[in-house]
């Protein structure tokens, strides 16, 4: 789930909020069968703005389940923001949002 303002003034700092469903299993917990539950986390989140990377986050198991991230970027031109999450076990998710800059 991603929240991006649909419209912004040129040069304004806009806040982007992202939330994704994921267990963020730490790899330090013991499961019901007595064995360690393997680590399963999102390791990397990136946001590109018309193809240019404007934000990147490297996550450790200490990020809570269903990772929430909010950050700012400058609205420079109308276009597409692309969000990408990648992680353990080949996890990959993407989302795009359009922004109109006037």
């Amino acid at each position: 789930m991603v929240s991006v303002p649909a419209k912004a003034r040129r040069g304004a700092a806009i806040e982007i909020k992202t939330l994704i469903s994921h267990p963020m299993e730490t790899g330090y917990r013991v499961g019901p069968n007595g064995a360690m539950i393997p680590r399963d986390i999102i390791r990397l989140f990136t946001c590109t703005y018309n193809g240019e990377e404007v934000f990147r986050a490297e996550l450790s198991p200490a990020i809570a389940a269903n990772p929430f991230l909010s950050f700012f970027t400058t609205a420079l031109e109308s276009g597409t923001l692309m969000f990408r999450w990648t992680g353990d076990g080949g996890f990959e998710a993407t989302h795009t949002a359009e922004i109109a800059v006037e």
Binding site: A12, A13, I14, P23, M24, T26, Y28, R29, V30, G31, P32, N33, G34, I37, Y49, E52, V54, F55, R56, A57, E58, L59, S60, P61, A62, I63, A64, A65, P67, F68, L69, S70, F71, F72, T73, T74, L76
Partner: protein, 160 residues
């Protein structure tokens, strides 16, 4: 998140668990689990800093001082910066003292960042200090910290 129903453990599973428990009791002190230490955190910070020193200041951590549940603790890190081409925050790194690993998150920003403020939710395994290090475009490092008291720990709680 709902857990699948636990089947009745068979005798074999019971024996295996007992053996594992006995082995564990020999290998570890009771209750001793993988934990980072303040020393491990200092080392992790040292890897980020290299030869440089972090100056206290410019970095603000907004995190509750008292947390009931360590599984999802809201954290906002802000850095005083004009976020211009000449003077901007390049990266923010967050560390903790007592989770199994000292590293929490690293974010890379740039002059297009607009505002050097990042928010997320983190897990805390114990009452401890959380430290954030900001790397500025001029090569300097700044740090801020916050102490958090946690009553219900996260990260290593077992499902049994």
């Amino acid at each position: 998140m709902p857990e699948p129903p636990t089947p009745q453990p068979s005798r074999r599973v019971f024996l295996r668990r007992t053996a594992a428990l006995a082995a564990g009791a020999v290998a570890l002190r009771p209750g001793a689990k993988a934990r980072a230490t303040p020393e491990a955190m200092r080392q992790a910070i040292r890897e980020v800093l290299g030869e440089a020193e972090a100056h206290p200041g410019k970095v603000t951590l907004d995190i509750p001082a008292l947390v009931e549940n360590g599984n999802a603790v809201p954290l906002t890190v802000s850095v005083e910066s004009p976020m211009s081409e000449e003077d901007h925050v390049k990266a923010i790194h967050v560390f903790n003292e007592k989770n199994p690993q000292p590293h929490v998150i690293s974010v890379m920003l740039g002059p297009r960042g607009g505002r050097a403020r990042v928010a997320t939710r983190i897990k805390l395994a114990d009452s401890q200090q959380v430290v954030a290090i900001a790397e500025i475009s001029d090569g300097s490092f700044w740090s801020g910290s916050a102490d958090v008291i946690v009553t219900l720990a996260a990260c290593v709680e077992d499902l049994q």
